[in-house]
Amino acid sequence: MSHIISAADAVASIPDGAVLMIGGFMGAGTPPRLINELVRQEKKNLTIIANDTARPGVGIGKLVEAGLVSKLITSHIGTNPMTQKQMIDGDIEVELVPQGTLAERVRAGGFGLGGVITPTGVGTIAAEGRQTIELQGKTYLVELPLKADFALVNAKVSDYQGNLMYALTARNFNPLMAMAADTVIAEAESIVPVGVIAPDMIVTPHVVVDYLVAKEPSNG
């Protein structure tokens, strides 16, 4: 069961220096109001775990642009020259992780698994600092789980309790991250009464969602 909270109050509960997982893929499925609040409240020194940093002015790109990010665990920054510049200038520490491995590490964090055993990255520089394991005649990397202080997730629809469903490619990392953080804050495009979303359509159950961002009145 989630508590209903304003975007401002939700973000106010996040301290400087927090580790945040943020859903989305190139901005699709990244919670827009929570991102804007992070910028408005000038949260400092954030560690962000996310697939990418989108483009300047888009999604997580806004956090980079505002200089709020000190560390990134991500699979791709090639579409955001600002991220690359801050990395080269030493302002952001970047840990690059293969995308499938990133997904599994977040899942492992949320699912109580001790790590991930993957063939991806074996023999490349992504294997540096990783333990390897031989199983059934093949070599794999052992990748550690990821957890966060907060997960900021974006859903297409939530019910009043915080049961979430996602739409198309905006799903991506959101359901995985909703399992892997101490505090889960969900923003939804629309919020409907309990029972409106069929049980088989709900991807994230309300029991893992701590806060649901309240509706804002729409003009029009």
Partner: protein, 218 residues
Amino acid sequence: MDSKTLIANRVAQEMKSGDLVNLGIGLPTLVASYLPKGIEVSFQSENGIIGMSMLPHPGLLDDDLTDAGGNPIGSVPGACAFDSSFSFGLIRGGHLDVTVLGGLQVDERGLLANWMVPGKMVPGMGGAMDLVAGAKRVIVAMTHTAKGTPKIVKECSLPLTAIRRVDLIVTELAVIEPTDDGLVLREIAPDVSVEQVLEATEAALIVPESVPEMAFVA
């Protein structure tokens, strides 16, 4: 045909009906436009969909339906959406029949480097490492040289994407197949000579007695 069209067109001939195909960003994306008639494949986008298609109309842009580059796409009837762990389960688990990727270098072992130039460009590997490690068939679609500098080299100087040998290299000059014995020149582009290919290639190429011209189907 310009170089890109030629490469995309030739790569498209490699597809078989029923294949699940992942096209990398950039040049590989063009492959979808040149599928031979009657060949029906499914396109996966690793951000979480099988059944992506071109967007039919600019008025239908959808924030929730994008390709791995964040660009709006459409979907075909029977499309299926899923999260990132499932998407890479398809890739890593051997369910993806073909991936077409760009390349910075491929070497005599058939190993690919395509995700960073140390000190210059560090975009990150995105899904490339999983794709090369996991796809049943890896096709590299790239220009033969980078402004004259050979990209098919003795040994990659750039960081590898995986230690798995790729299955085919298609450039605007040639089709080259990495094998146990080395890189075999399988086809040459129209109006290109074997000598021209050899000259533009740093790696040793095995040249069979006869090298046919690239085949295209309208």
